[in-house]
């Protein structure tokens, strides 16, 4: 019976193998449903639906969100939302099976808890905004658009790496 060993996580998969598996899932998405994967889109719809429940007028007149509720359309009856549901399940099962299920606030060796919390939220805000602006995030644009050779998606992908590397040196205290 494992005692102090209970949270020794299992070994991760070889990145090329995991990547191949991910690639097959992405391919399957196109072959089965005619479209790729995504994350921010599903999340956005859940957000819109939730807000719509409390403030329908605000949403329906909004220049950006209005289209999700126009003509009685249900924001949640969409591939992206069901994908997101699956992502949560798949991630959970994998973490469970890999002994990586643990409530924790992961942070770099030199970052305080408070710093980490602020960084997580503010980084998220930037990404939420950016994902709407760019019509997707790394899943919907870089992975999906990358596979279909979409020009704007490839530009997006390069821009993400550029932005990340450009700032990395300045925020290194968060991670190393």
């Amino acid at each position: 019976m494992k005692t102090e060993d209970t949270h020794t996580p299992n070994k991760l998969w070889n990145p090329y193998v995991a990547g191949f598996g991910l690639g097959l899932v992405l391919l399957a998405a196109f072959v089965v449903m005619g479209q790729g994967l995504g994350a921010s889109g599903g999340l956005a719809r859940v957000v819109v639906q939730t807000l719509d429940f409390f403030a329908h007028d605000l949403i329906k007149d909004n220049g950006h969100f209005g289209k999700y509720v126009a003509d009685g359309v249900q924001p949640l009856m969409n591939f992206m939302v069901f994908l997101g549901l699956g992502v949560l399940l798949g991630g959970f099962i994998s973490a469970l099976a890999g002994n990586r299920l643990k409530l924790q606030l992961e942070r770099g060796p030199r970052a305080s808890k408070k710093t980490r919390i602020i960084a997580a939220i503010s980084g998220g805000i930037l990404m939420g905004f950016a994902a709407r602006l760019a019509y997707g995030c790394t899943s919907g644009q870089a992975l999906t658009g990358g596979a279909t050779l979409a020009a704007g998606s490839w530009a997006f992908m390069l821009a993400v790496f550029a932005g990340g590397y450009a700032l990395a040196w300045f925020v290194r205290r968060l991670w190393i």
């Binding site: 990145p15 995991a18 990547g19 598996g21 690639g23 899932v25 399957a28 196109f30 072959v31 089965v32 449903m33 479209q35 995504g38 921010s40 889109g41 999340l43 950006h64 969100f65 591939f79 069901f82 699956g86 949560l88 798949g90 991630g91 099962i93 994998s94 606030l105 992961e106 770099g108 919390i117 997580a120 980084g123 998220g124 805000i125 930037l126 990404m127 950016a130 019509y135 995030c137 790394t138 899943s139 999906t144 596979a147 050779l149 979409a150 020009a151 704007g152 998606s153 530009a155 997006f156 992908m157 390069l158 821009a159 993400v160 790496f161 550029a162 932005g163 990340g164 450009a166 968060l174």
Partner: protein, 389 residues
């Protein structure tokens, strides 16, 4: 093989959504298997001591890419029916940079933050919270100016294969080969950066790496946005060429799916052209309508009621081929939906056959039409899915 399955009507929406959950399961599963439920592992990419993000991403992209374009090449997958992200160059570049900033600050991207959350990472959950706030922020500062920027640099369903003038399958193989070389380089970078156990020395090595990576990324970005690479196109007002009714009828009967027919007549239509989609006439003046709804490689035929009817200014981005049905629906009715008086010429015979096809009517004197020049195809339900985020 008629792929994709859903768009070719193999099953309905309910089954489709259920299958989508399975796809999502695979997605989340493999992300977590790769270790992407950990911010430290993800952020490490940007300090070059763990190149897993690069390895996983590009293996995945390459696998799917070769699969998609390979299947398309052998005719199993109908590219017209799959979702290719439309290009809005400026917001995608700016959005990409901002996402990159958010990525290195939070340690996640939106998708991995979900995976992290379900593995118990509080920082992952906080990132999700941030993403939600960011999404709301965007929607509530969506001024006309932001909206204009949001739709700028519109190039439609453009692929880098088209930009560089390559066959997509060839390009996919080239990219796969380049990726393989990059993976070897990545292994070397990882090993080199990790060699020093002294953290500060590791950081020094990383600085050199940044310069290298920065040079590559900046040159690639410059190449892409330079005039020789990808010139931003503006929408311009065009006068469409004429498209004849007979030719349109032939296209439809032969089952050629490389045209899109928009009927600009308003209200309830008693009769219409099969496959035509009714459209508010003003939409043709909106360039974003074109880029969001019309594949750039298809011919578009606009149908007015007659040649007298005034059609709004047609403003399209470059590369679109737009035609007006000559004489409008009036002409279609007279040419196709009206039985020819006499059957003398070849054209009369063709009109006779077309009349029968489009009205399902028994003809006067069932003439022997010598092997028709067209073969009607059994129509399957072809759905174009609106995907993306």
């Amino acid at each position: 093989m008629s792929l994709p399955f859903f768009n070719n009507g193999f099953f309905g929406l309910d089954t489709g959504l259920a299958l989508t959950v399975l796809l999502g399961f695979g997605f989340g599963f493999f992300l977590e298997r790769a270790g992407f439920g950990s911010a430290k592992k993800l952020a490490a990419q940007f300090y070059l001591y763990d190149m897993t993000v690069f390895k996983v991403m590009f293996t995945a992209i390459t696998t799917a890419m070769v699969g998609i374009w390979g299947l398309a090449k052998i005719g199993w997958l109908n590219i017209d029916l799959i979702w290719i992200n439309p290009t809005f160059l400026w917001p995608q570049i700016v959005g990409g940079v901002i996402l990159g900033l958010g990525f290195i600050i939070s340690g996640y991207c939106p998708g991995t933050s979900l995976v992290a959350s379900v593995s118990g990472k509080i920082d992952g959950m906080l990132t999700v919270l941030g993403v939600i706030i960011g999404i709301l922020l965007f929607g509530f500062v969506y001024t006309p100016e932001l909206a204009a920027f949001h739709t700028s640099g519109s190039m439609g369903r453009l692929t880098i294969a088209q930009v560089f003038g390559f066959d997509p399958m060839i390009l996919s193989l080239i990219i796969a080969a380049v990726a393989a070389v990059c993976f070897i380089f990545a292994e070397w970078v990882e090993k080199t950066v990790r060699k020093d156990t002294d953290l500060d020395a590791g950081v020094v090595k990383t600085r050199l790496g940044y310069v290298l990576v920065g040079v590559v990324v900046v040159s690639a970005a410059l190449f892409i946005i330079s005039p020789s690479g990808l010139a931003p196109v503006k929408a311009e007002s065009i006068t469409p060429e004429k498209f004849g009714s007979l030719e349109l009828a032939r296209h439809i009967v032969e089952g050629r799916n490389n045209i899109v027919i928009y009927d600009l007549r308003q209200g309830e239509l008693e009769k219409s052209i099969p496959g035509a989609v009714q459209l508010e006439a003003e939409k043709v003046s909106d360039p974003t309508f074109w880029t969001e709804s019309v594949p750039v490689h298809k011919k578009v035929v606009l149908v007015a009621s007659s040649s007298q009817e005034k059609v709004p200014e047609i403003r399209v981005p470059d590369s679109y081929r737009v035609f007006m049905l000559e004489g409008g629906f009036e002409n279609w009715e007279n040419t196709i939906l009206t039985e020819p008086e006499k059957i003398v010429t070849e054209e009369d015979k063709e009109r006779q056959a077309l009349y029968a096809y489009f009205t399902g009517a028994a003809t006067k004197a069932a003439p022997k039409v010598a092997a028709p020049a067209f073969k009607p195809k059994a129509g399957g339900k072809k759905k174009k899915v609106s995907g993306g985020c």
